[in-house]
Subunit: 373 residues, 2 copies
Amino acid sequence: MNQGRGTPARADGDPSGTAAFADHPFIRACRSEPHERVPVWFMRQAGRSLPEYHRVRGEGTILDAIADPDRAVEITLQPVRRHGVDAAILYSDIVVPVHAIGFGVDIVRGVGPVAPEPFRSSADLDRLRPLDPDADTPYVLETVRRLVAALDVPLIGFAGAPFTVASYLVEGRPSRDHGRTKALMLGDPTLWHALLERLTDIAATSLLSQVGAGAAAVQVFDSWAGALTPAQYRRFVLPHTRRLLEMVGETGVPRIHFGVATGELLDQMAEAGADVVGVDWRVPLGRARSRVPAGVALQGNLDPAVLLAGVEVAREAAREVLADNAGHPGHVFNLGHGVLPDTDPDVLTEIVRLVHDEGRVDGGDGTSADGRR
Amino acid sequence: MNQGRGTPARADGDPSGTAAFADHPFIRACRSEPHERVPVWFMRQAGRSLPEYHRVRGEGTILDAIADPDRAVEITLQPVRRHGVDAAILYSDIVVPVHAIGFGVDIVRGVGPVAPEPFRSSADLDRLRPLDPDADTPYVLETVRRLVAALDVPLIGFAGAPFTVASYLVEGRPSRDHGRTKALMLGDPTLWHALLERLTDIAATSLLSQVGAGAAAVQVFDSWAGALTPAQYRRFVLPHTRRLLEMVGETGVPRIHFGVATGELLDQMAEAGADVVGVDWRVPLGRARSRVPAGVALQGNLDPAVLLAGVEVAREAAREVLADNAGHPGHVFNLGHGVLPDTDPDVLTEIVRLVHDEGRVDGGDGTSADGRR
C-alpha cells in the first residue's frame, strides 16, 4: 500500500522523533511507563481560542493556512509557547489528504467540510487515488520538519480515521445522524469496504510521511465513530482502523486513537491497536480504564465546556479528572474534545499549571506496556 | 407546585387512560409484567416520514399545527392507522409549554427551537411563570381528549425534561456542545437550580394535565442530557427530573425517560424514578439492562439510520435488537432516536410486523415490577 510514500519512516537509525523524546513524560505516558509528572496537551490547542492565531491566520480557508508552512508552523507553536503544554500537534484537518488528491472537498467557514459532489458509487473510487506525500502535500512535510527543528516537546502527527473521513465524503457536509453514511455502509458493504480501504491507505501514507519527517507520535481522529453501534463498528470500521494502526505501528511511535461518544467502543478502539485511547468527558477515566486492556493508556477527559465557566470551576473539574485517574501512569491529560472557540486561553494555561503541580503518577506498579507491542 | 393545573389527574375512579389499558402489552411491558407480545412504537412516528402528514401539515410552524386540534389529532392517528403500532404519542414539541406562557421561543424550519432573547440572568425567571393548562394550552387538552376517544391503543403524553428545555432557552438555538448551558450551570448554580425548578413545575403541570385528560403513559424527553458527565448530571439535573417523575408518578401512569448518548447515565435515569428508560442504539440492550435495577424496563433501540438501508437490512437489525433483549418482559421496542425524515414508511410497517411476529416475551420469571412503586 505504500506506493507514493515519499519519505522513509526509518532513516539513519532514528525511526522518528520518538527516539529523541523516549524519556519525555508524554511519550512515557503513552506507553504506560513510569514517569515524573502527568503530561498535558489540548485538542485544538492551536487555533480559534488564541488571539495570536487570529493575527496570523489570514484570509482564505483553513486549508490555505495549512498549505502555508510559515503560517502552519507558527500556529502549531503558539500554544506550546503560551501554555507550556507537553506536546504539539500538527496544525491540520482530517480532509487535508483527500483535498490534496483532488476528491473535491473544501472547508466552508461556519459549516465545516463540504463535498459538492459526495461519494455515491463505485465510479467515485477513482477520485481517491493513492496519496504521494512529496508531490501532494509537500507543505505538510516541510511544516513537520521545521516544527521538529524548533520544538523541545514531541510533535503529534495528525490524520482522520477512515470512517470519519468517509462520513464527510458520503454526506457531503457535516451531519448529525450520518444517515447516508450508514445507508451506504449497510446497504452496499462491498463498496463501503473498497472506500475504507482507499482511505486507510491514504491515512497510513500520510501518517508514515509525517513520522518520517520527525513526528514523535500520531493521533488518529475517528471523531464520529461514536455514532455507530458496537456491532456496526466491529464489522465495518475495526478491520480498516486496525490495518491503519498496524502500518503506523511499524515505525514504533505511540498511536493515539480518538473519538467522541465512544463509551461503548473503547474496547474495540484499543483492540484496533491503539497505545492510547482518547476518552470524551462522558466516561469517567476509572470506568474507561475497566473497558481497555491493561497497558493501554487513556487520554482525556475534561469537558471542554467547563472551561467557559471560569477558572475556579475549571480547576475543580481538572482535579476530578486527576482523581478519576488515580495516579495511573498511562494517562495523558487532555480535554474530552477540542477547545471551544470562546475559551479564555488563560484558563487553559492555568489547567496546564495545575496538572503539572498536582498531577500524581504512581510508578513501578507493573502497568508498564514494555514489550507489549 | 401544581398551581394552575386545571384538570385533576384522578377523577371518577379512573386515574388516567392507563386503567382502560392495564392489560395492554405496551402498559404491561412498561411495568415489566408478563404479556403476550413485544409492543412497538417509534419516536417521531407521526410526522416527517409520512406523505399523509405532509398533506395535512399546512403552512406555518409546527407549533401552529400543534395548536390546531383537528390537525394534531389527525397527525397523531396517522402512524397508528398505517403501521399498527401499539401506542400513539401526542404530536407535540418540547417547547410547547414555554412557548405558550410567552417566554419567546419559536421553531424555525430547518433550524429547530430558537429563542431570540435567550435566558441569561435572574430577571429572565419572570418570563417563566407557572403554566395554566386550561388557559395556556387548551388545544393540548382538547387534542388529548379527542385522541383518547378515538384510539384503541394507549396514548403517551409528551414533555421535555428540565435540562433539555433549559438548554434551548439558554443557548437560544440548537447547539452541538451546549457551552452556554454548561457555563451557566457550573458558573451560577443558584440561578441554574431556580431555572430548572420553574421548568420542572411547568413540565409536571403539563404532564399532569395530559394524564388528567386521558393519557395512559408519559415520555419525558431529556434528549441532550447525554452531553453531561455523570457527576454533572447527578448534581445539576437528577434532583429536578426526580421531582418531576415523582409528581407524575402519583397518577400511576408509566413514566418513560429518554435521552441520546446516555450510556453512562442509564443508572441515574432509572434512579430518577423512571418505569422505562429509553436507550439509544449505542448501548446493546443486554448491556443497558446491567446498568439499571431489576424491574426497570427498557425502550429501544434500533438505529434509525438502519432504516435507510432497505427493508432486509432493517429486518436483520431489528432481529438483533430482539436477540439483545433475550425475551425480557420489560422491553418496549422502539428506535434509539426519532424516525429520520427520509425513512420509507413501508420499512417501518414491516418492522412492526416483524416485532409482532418474532418478538418473544418470557413471562412469570419474577421480573414483574408489581408493587415496586
